[in-house]
Amino acid sequence: MAATSLTKIESRGTREEPTIAVSLRRRTRWSEAIAEGVIKATALVSILSVALIIAFITKEALPLLLSADVHREVTPLDLLVPRSSGGFVWQPVSAVPKYNVLPLFAGTLKVSFIALAVAIPLSVLAALYVSDFATRRLRETLKPIIELLAGVPSVVVGFFALVVLSTWVQRVFGTEHRLNAVVAGLGLSFAVCPIVFSISEDALRAVPASYRAAAQALGATRSQALLRVVIPAAMPGIAGAVVLGFGRAVGETMIVLLASGNAALLDVRWGHSTRTVTATIAQELGEVVTGGPHYRVLYALGALLFLATLVINILGEAVIQRMRGTVRATR
């Protein structure tokens, strides 16, 4: 058997050389085309993923707009305008379920605002230090260290906020509730700082050295050059960093779930327990009837969250892209 097949190959090899060469070339072309097809098809996975996410979140949320069954318990209008008895209350599990989402969005904004109020000054100043004051060696050490903060799992940050930060906050501010918007906001700033820092630092470093030299040649001190020339030049990048940091804050789940206290009340007081959109989904989706009104409302919240972060991220990226354009143009 083996001998015959061997002779066959040999005979082919000697007599039909040209055809073999042609067929070989054709085969490589085929495999080449197949491989290219596979690679291109796989590259489309990302497009497919985004399309599926949009399609399925919408599909699960849409009955809130369309289904009469759902409307018997909750209409889209109920999400915004309080029913006669309820007021601005989110209380989906009760005799008369109340689905007003304003307390949740207020909670998200409140917590994000605190996080940004802490993170922006810290991160922008740190970016300035790393880009303009630190030696090259120190910069190479500090950058990865600060970026490591982004690698701490959010559930660990949330736990830290729950156990340690809450005690500090209560001791310093004497807050009424142990877990509140301030604790959640401080915890959240741990996640926001690395983002704002690294984008701001990129922006500051993208400002050409000639700007700094020109400012100092005109008699400006180093701090004047930084505050009046370099930072304004990097401003679009820093603004983009802030916008993206806001997007991160709005979308974060575990930190606020653990540290905010989760009281869904429309309450402007900083020291009071609060609840965000993300924490609501995380806490309630596990206990709802699939396909029921409450389930639909949670998916609708997810859709709103998706849209909000999409707009925020596109805005942030656009601002940063424009900054790249202007700095390059003036170089």
């Binding site: 080449e32 290219e36 690679i39 796989t42 590259a43 996975v45 990302s46 497009i47 993923s49 599926l52 996410i53 399925f56 699960e60 810290l122 100043l125 740190a126 300035l128 230090y129 790393v130 004051f133 630190a134 500090l142 990865p144 260290i145 490591l148 903060l149 690698g151 799992p153 959010s154 559930v155 660990v156 949330g158 736990f159 729950l162 340690v164 741990f190 700082c193 820092f197 001190t221 180093r222 701090s223 004047q224 997007g247 709005v250 979308g251 974060e252 789940t253 575990m254 653990l258 993300t278 989904i281 995380a282 989706l285 998916y299 997810g302 969250l305 998706f306 972060t309 999409l310 991220n313």
Partner: protein, 312 residues
């Protein structure tokens, strides 16, 4: 003559103060951020050091999770991230190869792929959880049950494979971005030399470019695992279990994970003071794993910056 000189010196002193205070202020801000990191690390390390022992790592939770170890959570996290990598790395590397080697840079498809990758990276993790439940568990899993299991609930429930695929979508951008950087760092001459020797584009990719970029691809994989291991929100509704008596052995088994275990201990424990040490131990193991992976990734990246061929 003395007055203007004095004035000059005070002015230069003022200038000096301005510079110095900005220097100090920015250094203090940097120190504070580093302190935030150090604070978390130290607190978790001190709280968990006394708890983490071989016994803690190798036994099951006992007595309603107020005693015992975290073996199923460690095993579950490992199985989850392994499955996730199997899905995310081939897809991510192929996407990066497409973007750098095949697509025309200004082509519509390539631009759309880029937009979608950036978009995926920005979607909140809880939205991935909602999607995983609606698509993988209900639609895909339910469909498989109807077709292959006569409607018996087999894949139409939260389980390991759906959680892993949800996480793979979440970590895809990490793999793509890191791999793309690595592929772009491969010198152009290598591609040209390979083509000049008669290699096809596929041969060039498989035998020259990917081997040259393997450090970067590895970095992407490590970062993805580190990210995936720490995520809780996307797996909450797609597979993770409060408690699972058995280690997951099938794709449709529920599983425990370190992150979710920590969340459960922190929020749903009947006796917080007794579970607190366990909580610290779990957090320390999770933090240790993600941190070690991140540091390896940083080291790899620093090494791969040095060119292997003496090109610049």
């Amino acid at each position: 003559m003395s007055a203007p000189l004095e004035e000059l010196s005070t002015r230069s002193q003022q200038r000096h103060y301005g510079d110095r205070s900005l220097h100090l202020l920015s250094a203090a801000a940097t120190a504070l951020i580093v302190l935030m990191l150090a604070g978390i690390l130290l607190d978790i390390a001190c709280g968990g050091a006394g708890v983490v022992s071989w016994q803690f790592l190798s036994t099951y939770p006992r007595r309603g999770m107020t005693e015992g170890g975290i073996l199923p959570a460690i095993f579950g996290t490992a199985a989850l991230t392994l499955l996730m990598t199997v899905a995310a790395i081939p897809a991510g590397v192929a996407t990066a190869v497409y973007l750098t080697e095949y697509a025309s840079p200004r082509g519509a498809v390539a631009r759309l792929v880029r937009v979608c990758i950036a978009n995926l990276a920005g979607i909140p993790s809880i939205v991935f959880g909602l999607f995983g439940l609606g698509f993988f568990v209900t639609t895909l899993g339910g469909g498989i049950d109807r077709l292959a299991y006569e409607g018996k609930v087999t894949y139409g429930q939260p389980c390991l494979v759906w959680a892993a695929l949800t996480l793979a979508m979440l970590t895809l951008p990490v793999v793509v971005v890191t791999t793309e950087d690595a592929l772009r760092a491969v010198p152009r001459d290598l591609r040209e030399a390979s083509t000049a020797l008669g290699a096809t584009r596929l041969q060039t990719v498989l035998r020259v470019i990917l081997p040259e970029a393997r450090g970067g691809i590895l970095t992407g994989g490590i970062l993805a695992v580190s990210r995936g291991a720490g995520e809780v929100a996307p797996i909450m509704f797609t597979g993770v279990a409060y408690f699972a008596r058995d280690l997951p052995t099938h794709l449709n088994d529920p599983f425990m994970s370190l992150g979710y275990h920590a969340y459960v201990l922190a929020t749903q424990s009947p006796d917080v003071d007794r579970t607190k040490p366990l909580l610290y131990g779990t957090a320390l193991v999770l933090l240790g794993v993600t941190f070690a992976l991140n540091i390896v990734a940083i080291a790899l990246r620093a090494r791969s910056r040095r060119p292997s061929f003496g090109h610049t």
